[in-house]
Every structure is written in structure tokens, then in C-alpha cells.
């Protein structure tokens, strides 16, 4: 059900997010714009120094506007918020002065940025920006789908760890139930011993019994685990008009069934055989 929920939710979010993307990556990809960014502090304020080979495209990708001319070599365009740092049309960075050709208007970080067309800034990080959704990109916006995937991944990791504790509980429960049922069947075992039932045959019967109980339990668990959430989801979707979730069958479900069956068979067999040995020894 958790996997089914994830699939349905991701599909809905993908549909909702639309097709307009902006993506940033540290790895190059087709049609991506290469920029170099480095942080800098001017008058106690953190600003970004950015260089890009395609200034116009950079503005388009970021949805920014330029008041003035695009910069060329040794020239920069500065964000509106940095206007007060410009003296006589010049901007000072690390002791170097750059001619300011225009001011960037943006509702984003570019209002605090200094943009040049050549890499004139030291220790810069290389990033690639594109307007296409790409598998290479580490970050793309709107990030609703990535966030949902990340959150589901967190939840599914937790659920998979819970599974192991449940196997542990199942094993413990089967072992003690097997052992206890043999202790409770003291009189029947004594009767079997008195009529000379071979120990090997009783042991094999125990194993057969463990097999049947484990198989029945696994199948019953599978049917209930599939049917009940499916039924709940159907009722909820009819009453509250919410999307219906169909239980998802995949390899993971099969693996869980196998592990559940193995754990219960092993623990029940050990419990039954252990209990029988104790009763034989006591007799």
C-alpha cells in the first residue's frame, strides 16, 4: 500500500507541477548554461559574483531584466540592491574596479549579484543551469516532485526497517507458540510414546505441521493485507471523493511473503521440535 501510495502521489504531483522547469547541476548536460559563482562580502553584505558566457540567456533563465547595456570584458552588471556600492559607474571587487554597464532587476538572488561575461572572480564554483527537466540535474524547480520522492524515500526506508523488527517478532512468537503448544500437549505426547510412535515420524509430522501453519499464515496475511486496505481505500474514495489506491503487487511483496514464510517455518519448527525433545526427555 505504501508503494502504491507513493506511485499515485508522485503521478499527481508530476501532473500538478507542470512542464516549466529550471534546473541547476554541478554536472554538464545538453543545452545547459555554464556559470561560475563565488560568494563575496561587500560592506558586511553577502553578494554573489557570477560569470556567464551567455549573459542574455542567463537573464532569461532567471527571469531577470537589465536596465542598461549587457557587460563585455572587464565590465559588470550589478543587482539593484547593490546600487549604493557603485561609485561613479565603477564597482570595486578585490581591489579591481569594473565598469558597471547596467542594473539587474529580479525578484530573486540576482538582485544581490554581480554578473560578468568572463570569469574574473577567484575560487569560483562551476554550475550548469538549464530550463529542461534533466536526470543529471541535482536540483530542479518546481521541486514538488523531488521533495515528494525524497519524503517517500524516507518513509519507505523507515517502513523497510520496521519490516525486520516484525520478522524478529514473528520468529520469537512462532518459536514460543510452538514450544508452549508442545508443553500443553503433554498427555497426547505421552500417549504417542506409550503406543510406540517412532520419534522420527513425530518429528516429521511436526515439520509438516509447521509447514502447513506457516503457509496458511502467510497466505492469510497476504489476502488480508491486500483486501482490507483495498476495501478501506475504496470506501474512503466513495465517501470522501479521494483517489482510489489499488494495492501494488511487485517483487518486494513476493520477497516479503517468502521471508515471512521462512521466518515462521524456521521458528515454529525449532519451537515444536524443542518442545517435543523436552517432553520426551521428561518422560
Amino acid at each position: 500500500m505504501a508503494n502504491s501510495y507513493e506511485r499515485e502521489a508522485i503521478n499527481l504531483i508530476s501532473l500538478y507541477s507542470g512542464q516549466q522547469y529550471v534546473a541547476v547541476s554541478e554536472k554538464p548536460s545538453a543545452n545547459a548554461l555554464r556559470i561560475q559563482a563565488s560568494p563575496f562580502t561587500i560592506g558586511g553584505r553577502t553578494v554573489l559574483l557570477i560569470s556567464t558566457e551567455n549573459f542574455t540567456e542567463f537573464l532569461r533563465v532567471n527571469g531577470a531584466r537589465l536596465l542598461g547595456k549587457p557587460p563585455i570584458e572587464s565590465e559588470v552588471a550589478v543587482g539593484e540592491e547593490l546600487r549604493s556600492q557603485v561609485n561613479n559607474g565603477l564597482f570595486l571587487i578585490n581591489g579591481r574596479t569594473f565598469k558597471v554597464t547596467g542594473y539587474l532587476q529580479s525578484n530573486s538572488y540576482l538582485t544581490y549579484a554581480v554578473v560578468a561575461t568572463t570569469n574574473i572572480f577567484p575560487n569560483s564554483q562551476t554550475l550548469y543551469i538549464s530550463t529542461e527537466k534533466s536526470n543529471v540535474a541535482e536540483v530542479s524547480a518546481p521541486a514538488a516532485e523531488q521533495i515528494a520522492r525524497s519524503v517517500f524515500s524516507e518513509i519507505l526506508t523507515i517502513m523497510s526497517l520496521v519490516r525486520y523488527t516484525l520478522y524478529g517478532a514473528l520468529g520469537l512468537c512462532c518459536f514460543f507458540q510452538g514450544y508452549n503448544s508442545l508443553i500443553e500437549s503433554e498427555q497426547i505426547l505421552h500417549a504417542l510414546a506409550s503406543i510406540g510412535a517412532p520419534r522420527k515420524m513425530v518429528n516429521l509430522s511436526m515439520l509438516g505441521y509447521a509447514f502447513i501453519v506457516s503457509l496458511t499464515g502467510t497466505l492469510l496475511g497476504f489476502v488480508l493485507g491486500t483486501f482490507l486496505p483495498g476495501l478501506t481505500s475504496s470506501i474512503v474514495s466513495i465517501v470522501f471523493k479521494l483517489p482510489h489506491l489499488k494495492p501494488l503487487m511487485n517483487v518486494q511483496v513476493g520477497l516479503d511473503l517468502m521471508l515471512g514464510f521462512s521466518a515462521s517455518l524456521l521458528a515454529l519448527s525449532i519451537g515444536l521440535l524443542g518442545g517435543y525433545s523436552r517432553q520426551i526427555a521428561a518422560a
Binding site: 541547476v24 560568494p39 538572488y109 541535482e138 536540483v139 530542479s140 524547480a141 518546481p142 521533495i147 523507515i158
Partner: protein
């Protein structure tokens, strides 16, 4: 019972409890963590959300509503701008802050930024998860908008709570990431009142009846708590107007070409009628007491001619700021109505009064003209305030202090020496603020903090909350069964001895004292041991598990209580089963 059986029981019970604690740490504790995350980390108070929103992260409410609620007596309001963003492979909650000054005590590495800009301050665990050193530029993606912001990691803070998994950015950047326009916030956390009171306040509109008599023609403007003009009416001599407005803190200002003055403020929580008057003259007269003829200059530099009447120098001018030059010095005189300038009143014992002037958004106002009049209207002092505050010495009495930074002005009446600290607020209309339809104010939803997460889950899907709760209860029940089976083993394996004891006439009380209570003691000792081991193992094994980018909180007391409850339930089960067997 036999040492071997007890050892086997203890070992099995220990394993069962340990497994139960692990399951509890993986199911129930994330539930508590999710509950806190969906509340935005808030533990107390009333959350004000947009009625159509699904969580604190997707809500939008007007900032002026939060500011207005904060004007209610004994009510504290915390506005929140927050959203869930995506950074380097993981979801992260980003909160907007106006300044980082309050965070200095939690600073762990780096330097807290002193102004706005493209910076990000990471919580300790968020920094570990993102692997971003100080000074690195990281792209932060908005969940809803087509916006990626490049931010520089400025500092890492160690809060010691769930904020360690979050990030702080400047409020402006937070607005971009959450697509919240100016004038709006995500939500507000209100303390000091209850949900019913807030909903009652906001569900209806109220009538504000204004009467204004004015010597000058101009406009009467009603500003909301955020300084945004909501209503404007033209005033010629007299105005009577009735406005229908939602609950809020409103400022009524008069505005014309020369003057922009606050007439009053009102916290509108019922129908109210207010009367104001604007006293200014077209040809104000200034009378000056001086031995030598003074010089009065208008702001445009034109000298105003003086005549001598009844021992005073009389100037007839136009409204505005004037410069008066006397032998004793020069004074700035805001002249909007007839006045007599008589600084001799200041002679005698004086008390120091601190006067500060600021704009309505809280920023200090410098270079303002300050005029001090007596209650009778005689001007005793006129000075320029170079910074945002000034100290003036005044004799005992009642005064009106006026601040002018044309066209803006504000005034206040005080009594000296009762008042020693005066704050004057110059009105200002904010530009570029989102125009919020007034109907929006009544679309809010107030709910106790503890119900937000259930509301969110229920909104996302009707079955999510039920499934989680059902899963948690199923697992708890399963472990009760497991431990009961283990305990049953102990009683069954000692069945013969117990039967003998019963035949010998051992009472239930004897069995309780000599068998069951020692078993309970052993079980509780195992509870303490497993809870301790679970707490350490949870911290080691599950420290990397996150939910909405938040590390899952592990509470040792909660684990201990869970184990103890399981054990006591199982013990009672065993007790009744044993009593039944003995009877049979």
C-alpha cells in the same frame, strides 16, 4: 521456577522488548516527529492559517492580520514565513528571518550575516546531511515556483532542537522560495487568546464611522497595520464617512500637498465612531518675543517681513518649515498654524525627556524638525533631530510635541515629568505591497497547534492518519502478544510445580508475592536495561533516518514508558491466566 527457565525467559523477554522498542522507535516516534514537523515545530498556541491551505508550509495570510492581533492586550504573535525546499537530494524546511541577531547564541561555525542577501544559515544536522562547507554556493529549489536561488552557506547553528534540521534565510529570499508576496506571511502563531475569540473577531466586518473637520483640503486615508492604504476620502472643510472593514489595527492619516499627518489609530474589533480635526491655517501668524528684530526665512529662502505689535514681532507667512534667526541662535519652525515663539518659558527647573522619531515600519527617522508647544499653544522649543532621538529639557507642565519631515508629521501630548520617554511615529504609505482583497481577512482558519498535523494528514488523504494510527496500534498489540507468549512459556514450563503448590493450599496472595511480583520485578529490570540499550542503539542506528528532512526525535522517557506499559499489560495478562489455571 528454576534458574535455567528464568534465564531463558529473561533472554527471550529481553529480545522481545528490544525488538518492540526498535519498532516503537521506527513507527510511533516518527509519528510524533511528523506531528511536530507539520505544526512547523510549534508546540503551543493557536495557529492562524489560510482556510484552504493544507499545512503551515502552504498557507498564506495577510501580515497586517498578524500585526493587528499583536495589538490585542496580552496577546503575542509570531509571524512565520516558511516553506519546504529541495537542496542537494533532500527536502529541507527553510524559514525566513528579518535579522540573525537573535541567533548568535546558537552559532556553531561561520559568521551570521548582518544584512539581507543571498545567504543561508544551516542547522547542525542539515549541514551534516547536505555536506556543504561554509562559503559554498548551493542551489535551493522552491517546491511550488519555478525558482532556484543560489545561496552561500554563511554559518551553521546548533539549536539543540528540530531547527537543527532546518535552514534560515533572509525573509525576502524566503518569500521568493515560498512564492509568498510582500504583505503576506505563511502563518502566525498566537499566544494569549483562544481559537473562538480569534474566529469571532475575524468572521465579520465592522463599521468605522469617521468625522473630520479640516482647515485644509486634502484626503483622509485609512492605512492597515502594514501601512497599506485601504480607503481614501476627500476632505473639504468637513467629512463624514462610514467604512466597512474587517478586524484590524488601522491608522487614519490626513494627506495633502504639504502635510501628511497621523490623526489617530484604532484597533477595530467592534463598530466605532471617531472624530478628528486638522488645524492649520492658510496664512499662519508667528509672533516672536525678542528685543532685536528677528529674521524669518521660508524654506524657499524668501524672507518674511515683520511688523511690531504689542511688544512682539509678528510674521504672516504661508504654511511650511521656516528658519527663525535670533541673537541667541537659529531655530527651525514648522509653521502650520498661528503660534507665539517664547523660549523664555523654559527658564527654571527642567526635566529631561527623550524624544525618538521613527517611520511606521520601525526604521529611525533622522533630520526631523521637532516643535514643542505648551498646552496653551506657545512654542517653547524648536530643534532639528539629527539622529533618531534627542533629549530635551522641559519644565513641569503639559506639552504637545510635533515632529515634521515634510510632508510627514506626527504629534503627541505629554505631561512632564510623568513622561520621560516619548516615541513619535511618522506615517508612511508602503509601496509595492500586494493588494489583498479585504474578504481575504475572513478566510482564515484558527486552530490549536496540536490539531494542525492531523488536519494536514487528513487533508492530504483521508486514510493516511487512520493508517498510521492503525499501524502503530497493530504493532503494539503484536508485541503484547509476543511478550505474553514468552511469559506463558515460563508459567507452562513450571506448570507441574505450580499445580503442586496449589494442591498444598497456596493462596493467590502467596503466588502473587512469591512468584508473580518477582517476575514483574525481573521484567521491569529488563525494561530499564532494554530502554537504555534502545536509546543508544536508536541514536547510532537510526540517526540517518529523516522525515521531511528532519531527524526523528528519540525520547528515552517515552521509550521507557512504552516498554513499561507493555510489560505491565503482559504481566496482568499472565496474572489472570495463572489465576484461572489454578482455579481449574
Amino acid at each position: 521456577m528454576g534458574y535455567k527457565r528464568l534465564a531463558a525467559f529473561s533472554a527471550a523477554f529481553f529480545v522481545g522488548l528490544l525488538t518492540a522498542n526498535l519498532a516503537f522507535a521506527l513507527i510511533v516516534e516518527p509519528g510524533f516527529g511528523l506531528d511536530l514537523i507539520l505544526r512547523g515545530g510549534e508546540r503551543e498556541g493557536i495557529a492562524i492559517l489560510d482556510r484552504a491551505s493544507r499545512s503551515i508550509y502552504t498557507s498564506r495570510i495577510p501580515l497586517s492580520l498578524a500585526l493587528s492581533l499583536g495589538k490585542l492586550p496580552n496577546v503575542q504573535v509570531e509571524p512565520i514565513v516558511t516553506s519546504i525546499c529541495y537542496v542537494q537530494g533532500s527536502a529541507i524546511v527553510v524559514r525566513g528571518v528579518e535579522s540573525t541577531g537573535a541567533y548568535t547564541r546558537w552559532l556553531s561555525r561561520g559568521r551570521l550575516p548582518e544584512s539581507d542577501g543571498p545567504w543561508i544559515v544551516l542547522g547542525r544536522r542539515a549541514a551534516e546531511r547536505i555536506h556543504a562547507p561554509i562559503g559554498q554556493v548551493i542551489p535551493v529549489a522552491s517546491s511550488l515556483a519555478r525558482t532556484i536561488v543560489l545561496l552561500t552557506v554563511a554559518a551553521v547553528c546548533d539549536f539543540g532542537d528540530m531547527r537543527d534540521d532546518e535552514a534560515l534565510v533572509h525573509e525576502g529570499i524566503a518569500r521568493q522560495l515560498s512564492s509568498i508576496p510582500s504583505g503576506m506571511i505563511s502563518a502566525a502563531i498566537v499566544q494569549g487568546t483562544n481559537r473562538e475569540a480569534i474566529e469571532k473577531l475575524v468572521e465579520t466586518n465592522y463599521k468605522l464611522n469617521l468625522k473630520c473637520a479640516s482647515d485644509l483640503s486634502g484626503n483622509l486615508v485609512v492605512l492597515d497595520a502594514n501601512g497599506v492604504p485601504l480607503r481614501t476620502s476627500k476632505v473639504v472643510d468637513k467629512l463624514e464617512e462610514s467604512y466597512e472593514l474587517p478586524f484590524g489595527y488601522y491608522t487614519i492619516v490626513f494627506q495633502n500637498q504639504y502635510l501628511y499627518s497621523t490623526l489617530g489609530t484604532v484597533l477595530l474589533k467592534s463598530d466605532q465612531s471617531l472624530e478628528y480635526s486638522v488645524r492649520a491655517e492658510q496664512r499662519p501668524v508667528l509672533k516672536v518675543s525678542a528685543s532685536k528684530k528677528p529674521v524669518l526665512l521660508r524654506s524657499d529662502g524668501v524672507q518674511v517681513q515683520a511688523s511690531e505689535e504689542e511688544g512682539l514681532w509678528v510674521f504672516r507667512s504661508t504654511p511650511g518649515i521656516h528658519r527663525l534667526e535670533l541673537d541667541s541662535g537659529a531655530f527651525m519652525i514648522p509653521l502650520f498654524h498661528s503660534a507665539t515663539f517664547d523660549p523664555t518659558i523654559l527658564a527654571g527647573k527642567a526635566y529631561t525627556t527623550r524624544v525618538s522619531v521613527s517611520w511606521s515600519d520601525g526604521n529611525p527617522a533622522s533630520d526631523c524638525s521637532l516643535l514643542v508647544r505648551t498646552a496653551e499653544g506657545r512654542v517653547v522649543l524648536s530643534i532639528l533631530v539629527p539622529q533618531d532621538n534627542v533629549k530635551v529639557d522641559l519644565p513641569e507642565g503639559s506639552y504637545v510635541i510635533e515632529a515634521y519631515k515634510l510632508p510627514y508629521s506626527a504629534q503627541i501630548s505629554i505631561s512632564v515629568p510623568a513622561v520621560s520617554d516619548v516615541k513619535l511615529i511618522l506615517p508612511s504609505i508602503k509601496s509595492n505591497v500586494e493588494k489583498i482583497p479585504l474578504q481575504y481577512y475572513t478566510f482564515i482558519k484558527a486552530m490549536p497547534i496540536e490539531t494542525i498535523s492531523a488536519f494536514t494528514l487528513a487533508s492530504i488523504s483521508g486514510i493516511s492518519a487512520a493508517l498510521l494510527i492503525g499501524l502503530a496500534f497493530s504493532i503494539i498489540f503484536l508485541f503484547v502478544m509476543v511478550l505474553a507468549t514468552v511469559q506463558r512459556y515460563l508459567y507452562l514450563s513450571a506448570k507441574t510445580r505450580l499445580t503442586v503448590l496449589s494442591l498444598l493450599g497456596a493462596s493467590n496472595r502467596f503466588l502473587l508475592g512469591h512468584i508473580e511480583l518477582p517476575i514483574l520485578a525481573i521484567s521491569l529490570a529488563l525494561v530499564a536495561a532494554t530502554a537504555s540499550i534502545s536509546f543508544v542503539s536508536n541514536a547510532l542506528l537510526f540517526s540517518r533516518l529523516t522525515l521531511f528532512g528532519h531527524t526523528i526525535p528519540h525520547d528515552p522517557v517515552m521509550t521507557l514508558l512504552f516498554s513499561a506499559t507493555l510489560t505491565i499489560l503482559v504481566w496482568f495478562w499472565g496474572h489472570f491466566a495463572l489465576a484461572k489455571n489454578i482455579e481449574m
